[in-house]
Symmetry: D2
């Protein structure tokens, strides 16, 4: 976990304390199921429960003792059960971990951490979506230029741009829900998945109590394609965040300046240049998406474990899952904050729109000419020559031309239109008339 | 597309001819919708349809002409519409591509190629799953050793191993279905997604006819997180194939030899060593999974396009989508063939089981001793010392020992058991008694 | 290989014909060495040489026959030697492939293809570097704004920017030379690298004749860390190309427009918007860099082959090496063309410089004030308040202010300077005075 | 940094304290150079030096104060200089950071951390290589089977296998040296690399004192292709470690058991199965290599910064560089320990060799028959039929056959050989006769 780029709630999920808490819960629920199965005497169970509860009240102490024991034992789960058994301090402790293999506990607890993480990330998205929606509605009718290849294309509204962002994070939410479902699986089927020592009913009982499904077939571990799927979803959401971070970095460029990320009181942009207000948070989001992507690769390499498991995935997972979950939580949190406080400059959007001198109406005129009976080539030639004429003015750095005026001055164009017709066509309203349809479809 | 590792049916989907066929279909359907909208005269439509049909009958000719034109125009879609217009050879051709932007055609056709690919891959999985199921049932009761860390753990059956494979490819199928759904989206909303020139109803009409949904909000293109999602699913399925390829490579090792991939008549294993039968097809599958994984990374990097689109994704997609789809189709096909003809050697499985001299019963005895009232530590110590004694014999390369006999010779162990009790516990049947539960759950 | 993004010369290196040509060369040289070692009779050698030469004259015929034979044999090298032996058509052919294992031929030929590719790529770089140098010199004194975070920082010259590009591709060249050296290794040490059947002298003889070094220790194959190193260098060069492609895409944005990629006569920018001139070639370069990066990952996964080799790397390499080499050759070629014809707009650079109203002199003034005796905090406060005042004017979209004038109007600033002093400091010349030092260091 | 998988020395290099130490050193050296340039008065310098030395003596205190200030300032370098200035507590502090931009300090310090890391990693390799060399010499003549595709091929010695490992880590060393050289560059050229505020001589002075070269042309930062190069080298070394980790995991398989990783006193292999000795350290190394590989991808994506820099690389680098350096240091350390204590079982190697019943002599006999005048096909047929006959015995799980005996019993083979001749050929010595040549070339 990267302290600098994480928040306490997600860090807590991936803390050693939380892991031990979940391990205790799984061990205790298993013993509970064994009582119901008539294997463990109720009195022994009560002693175990008391010991576990004492441990739960002093997780830092349990952790300390476990680590001490791990030095010699070189096995974290045995160190854990030994430490708990010491606390039980009675022969009843022999039922602790009865019939279980380490991975039964480790992988089931891991699933719970993933589910907890997914729930937190879903909550992040649930906090983010209304903020995007609000900004989209707010700027539903704020005109700005749409750009392809970084070049002015046709007008859109800034709210329409954000509607696309809204839709993208709805997809992110759906993916995360689906990934949450995939990893919500536990296993108590033992060293090679055969349930040789604990009846599958025990597994079902414990998993249900934990809100998990039992894996239909496990090996010693839960199959790793499930965890890889989870990581690819985190990487996909990261890529979506990256897309919008790049967008807003572009919009904050000095020459564009259509939006700015919120700039704190007292914040310094540069040690050398006091006038700078840089999109550093958007840049940070861009960078962190790379880490999520890279971690997904490592997760995909973790799938092909040998036979009924090898442990090569374990060191990888200890790094990438806490890292990716905390990073994405942090990123979604930043994203919400940035979108909430995003400074939007409609007047600059209008100024930038103006840069194209109306050339973005070219297709409108092209299609109108086609409707008038011209072939596409004829229409294209007419429009292009006027666009190029306008372009040369623009290119010379002047702004004393206008596509509409140029068109009207071209008799071969003008003769096709009635007075006022070209003006009606070459309007922003023309471009925006179907946007309500999109907002409605998104319930924005 | 990699000719060597592809099959004709998937190659056809990604052929230039198929692409042009889909482009024609989209252009024609759009014109059809424009007739219904009262924009295009029916007579013009009929001429366009005739021209398109002529093109469809001579796709190679169309392709040739398009490529010629592309030399000068440097734009594949304009070259295409120009070539089709030449074939229509009438002013009616002005309605061709009316109100569309190139990406409307390109991205909608791309979605159709992805859907066609997904359908073929789903068919591959539907052919694969029953083969795995059959082999799993066939070896439901064939004992073999389960291994963790490459080391003998506890016994399983070979059919149980395959049940896990079956479940993994059911998950693969579910993922592919979900990815197919995600990419089944078209767009005809123009240069920046505003539907400025064509009413959204036209988009809906065309998409429905093609079996697609319209994208709720597009830019110039369909958002690339959808395509990245598709690629990550291909990579995930690749990783699952890799897992099983690695498994069967292990099982074919000289020292293990529990299975062999089918070996063709006349096939030569080595130019130098005539005795060799190598798992080369499994190895090929292992390698190809790496390419799918790498391509997923490139797809994830494609998401963050600038503003309403840049075209950096295009060159990447021209490579990775045909490559990944053809590779996965080829891989699934090979996998089915390998599983169908997999040579299984139950006698070698038994021999390998024997190598552990019964030590895989250690946990069974450990738990029995706990049930007898020993603490875990006491039981562990007793079991370990007998396991170690057996191990030393084994380690010395001898096989004249047996864990069960060793245990029985240890009075501290023996005194806890009645005659015959240890024998009943230390049996393969004990390990397999809950397997039917798993097979039933999978409906195998 | 991706036909669309490749050039004939590099395609030829990776053609099946070239591979067979190299195989023939290696087989023949080995036989030659065996004659010198007294194993093969000279007369037999002459027959083999004649057969090989006949094959060399009809490589397509050899390829056809090899493929036919491969259908049954399922082994490409055996199919090859069989086809060549048929051409020799005499008992002398028994010496063909004598003592060799397939990988001796395959891997040594692969090394030669890599060396040929590296040489072509080095030639590409040698053609590129002087073009960058020329443009750098041409614009040595063309002022433009330097940007950090996409925000105006301090002035640079466009030639200085290109000097950085020049230096980066010098580094690329050094990396490629080093990678060429690394892969220039052959092996003829047989099935497991022991040279059991051919004396190491034979290996040395053949390798030297081919311009290769023998691998100090091989397994059946040349160790794959060498090939992975080569691919990472291709990916690194791709990343450098990407950096500059992104740079020039930025500079072509409508709002910036400091450069444009050359736009061909007759080229159409958009099927819908005739006024567009898009940086599509730069975008293509951006995308292709992703593929090189992804392929490097696959190459890194190829390193961990099992024991004395498994063949999982082979399918991967058949895809990624031809693809990456042809792509990089194509990219370097495009890059040279783009740099050669890059349209540079110094007047727009000046206009953009003007946008910051001189605020880029803030650090100059800050340091001057420090030299005058102010503390950094005092100086910073003075500079910042004037920068902010200027900024507000700028931010309001006006350009009727100027940092220098604002400073001079601030008595707390002005009192520190003599008349004319601030003007001298706040000049572009001040910023550029040390640039000749950098150009000289690069011998530009 | 991942505490669990790191060692104190490397953690110290990447600690916040060390970073601040290096920042102090760079700031102080710059002031020193400014004294020599006649800009900073000597008295002021002495005060600054005293302040810096006080800070150096209380780095934790400096760090605390910096973090406090960073809360408001949102800029780590300004927070740092402010904290140091507080300690200087005199107007002399105005010369602190004079003419520098944050990245001058940050990137130059980063270079020093990379150089320190490289030196530690080189020391790790220098400790590793002699251990591998010792084990290689020790087992120079210990026969074992060479395997391709996991299938027995021809005999090698275990020392020869290790000779290959030795050579691979020599290559690793060379790569690391080269990467160390690449990143040993500093820059003090200011906000956009022009050296507008500090003469390049200052940069040269400071860099030399620090053991660095000045970057020929920088932007605000050192170009990131250099850092990406460094990371790809770490990933390459990781891939080499992975190769050998996979090798030794294979050799520890129950069925193979030719080596075992050292097993600590008191260590427990399994919570459930007391007899297990698992290659968990090798598996951990396998997993960690995946992280290095993934981090290299992220580093490659960091290259394409915008214009004269954006800061998206920074968050990535804060994670991947400390992580990768500490991981690789930890991995090399483990690798040395494992190689040092590796348990080698020559008797099992012999037993496994025996499994092939001498079939690994097939090529020897094939070539001998060719020398006797048979064609390759004739020889191949003879050898194959005897190999297949032997194989069937082997395959039936019996070991009462032998390739040599089978050959001698085949009159068509036997008639070509004199008595004793086949025995001489079919010997391990025959396979090993050229190994000394390889050991000598490696100076082993």
């Amino acid at each position: 976990m990267i302290e600098r780029y994480s928040r306490p709630e997600m860090r807590a999920i991936w803390s050693e304390e939380n892991k031990l808490r979940l391990w205790l819960q799984i061990e205790l629920l298993t013993t509970e199921a064994l009582v119901r199965a008539g294997i463990v005497p109720a009195a022994d169970y009560r002693r175990i429960r008391a010991g576990c509860q004492a441990c739960l009240k002093d997780l830092p102490g349990l952790l300390r003792r476990q680590r001490e024991l791990e030095q010699t034992l070189q096995h974290d789960v045995i160190a854990f059960t030994t430490a708990v058994a010491e606390r039980i301090n009675h022969r009843a402790s022999r039922w602790l971990h009865y019939g279980l293999t380490s991975s039964d506990v480790v992988d089931t607890a891991f699933a719970l951490q993933l589910v907890q993480s997914a729930d937190l990330l879903l909550a992040d998205l649930d906090a983010l979506l209304p903020v995007i929606a609000r900004r989209a509605r707010e700027h539903k009718s704020t005109p700005c230029i749409g750009r392809s290849h970084g070049i002015h294309a046709e007008p859109i509204t800034f709210g329409f741009k954000l509607a696309g962002m809204y839709d993208e994070f709805r997809r992110a939410r759906r993916r995360l829900e689906s990934a949450r479902y995939s990893v919500a699986v536990g296993k108590l089927s033992g060293a090679v998945g055969t349930s040789a020592h604990l009846h599958p009913r025990i597994e079902t009982y414990v998993c249900r109590k934990l809100g998990l499904r039992p894996v239909p077939v496990a090996t010693q571990v839960v199959p790793r394609d499930l965890h890889a799927e989870f990581q690819t979803v985190l990487a996909l959401i990261g890529a979506s965040i990256e897309r919008w971070a790049v967008e807003f970095r572009h919009l904050q460029r000095t020459e564009v300046l259509e939006t700015e990320e919120p700039f704190g009181k007292g914040q310094k942009g540069s040690s050398a240049m006091p006038h700078k207000r840089n999109p550093i948070t958007w840049e940070r989001l861009t960078g962190l998406a790379r880490i999520l992507r890279a971690n997904a690769m490592a997760a995909l390499e973790n799938v092909a474990l040998w036979h009924e498991r090898d442990i090569s995935h374990s060191s990888v997972e200890r790094v990438i899952f806490p890292d990716s979950c905390t990073l994405l939580d942090y990123m979604l949190h930043l994203l919400r904050r940035l979108m909430d406080g995003l400074q939007v400059y409609p007047e600059n959007m209008r100024r930038n729109l103006g840069l194209s001198l109306g050339m973005y109406h070219s297709q409108t005129v092209l299609l109108a000419l086609i409707r008038k009976g011209l072939t596409r080539e004829e229409a294209y030639a007419l429009v292009q020559r006027n666009a190029m004429k306008t372009w040369e003015v623009r290119h010379a750095g002047r702004d004393d031309a206008d596509f509409l005026q140029t068109l009207k001055a071209d008799p071969e164009v003008a003769r096709h239109f009635e007075p006022g017709e070209l003006e009606r066509l070459c309007s922003l309203e023309f471009h925006f008339r179907h946007l309500p349809y999109r907002f409605k479809a998104l319930k924005l």
